[in-house]
Point group: C3
Chain length 122, copies 3
Amino acid sequence: MPTYVVRARAETLIPGRRQRLAEQITEAHQRVTGAPRAFVQVVVEDLRGRDHFVDGRAAASGSVWVHGHVPAGWDEPTLAALAKGVREAVVATTGVVEDLVWVYLSEIPPERMIEATVPAVP
Amino acid sequence: MPTYVVRARAETLIPGRRQRLAEQITEAHQRVTGAPRAFVQVVVEDLRGRDHFVDGRAAASGSVWVHGHVPAGWDEPTLAALAKGVREAVVATTGVVEDLVWVYLSEIPPERMIEATVPAVP
Amino acid sequence: MPTYVVRARAETLIPGRRQRLAEQITEAHQRVTGAPRAFVQVVVEDLRGRDHFVDGRAAASGSVWVHGHVPAGWDEPTLAALAKGVREAVVATTGVVEDLVWVYLSEIPPERMIEATVPAVP
């Protein structure tokens, strides 16, 4: 039901790492929230250096930004643990230092989320 | 005033379908909410297979995810009808089965939305 | 701590303008909110003409859409001033007329935002 949009440079998220990162984010989501992993969607988008800025200057090349859109209703400790779990998934699969990882969690009331019911390739 | 971001594989949203999908989403928005269609924005983004995951595995190739950012204030039945109307627009224009369509609706207070006043090509 | 996602055609945001736009948005954020600029992230994404619609038709080619994700808590006048400041930054750096600029501001509670602590290239 949630979707995590991951943005990073292509050299940070080399192809072999993308599926592992998706797996680890999915795993963190299930572990922290108890929700089934079958509807956890992960989308990766490439960032080019010329398109990514922090403090008005070129961002550090290894930066990774994950924006999760999750169903509203979990309490604050759960959401805080979820944000940390997602950060750990990024660190574990990309080797990027924690200091370069951004995680945002936006809530959407579940009644405004329609999810696919045959989501993954069997 | 609203913006719908559509993400799908290039082969699902072949060029001729993009405008028709935008038209149908715009039409659904107007029909359900009564709001004018002149400020309905639709943005399409291509997803590559290696960048799209559900349940930690490659997502079904025909999946379509629409994330709408709409002005806050409509009641729940209207928002539920809007989500369904968007899903129907996707099914009608892409031929994708309903089970592969995701729709999220995020609300933004209208005073935090500045829209273009000369939006479309005449 | 905030992130601004800018979407426009490549010909509107020619390479030399991207950094200047990021600088000006960052500057507007600091000026209006008083928050430090060190954690203002700006991401630019290219829009292709065939992927961008308003009113169900091709959008005007110079349109620029900025979606800011900002920490919740500022009052309405501050958010209104911020939206206008971002619009002015777009106009000043791209030469696009005000009528073609869209700005949305979505709030995220700050405890659901983990930001990088070594964000920019020194």
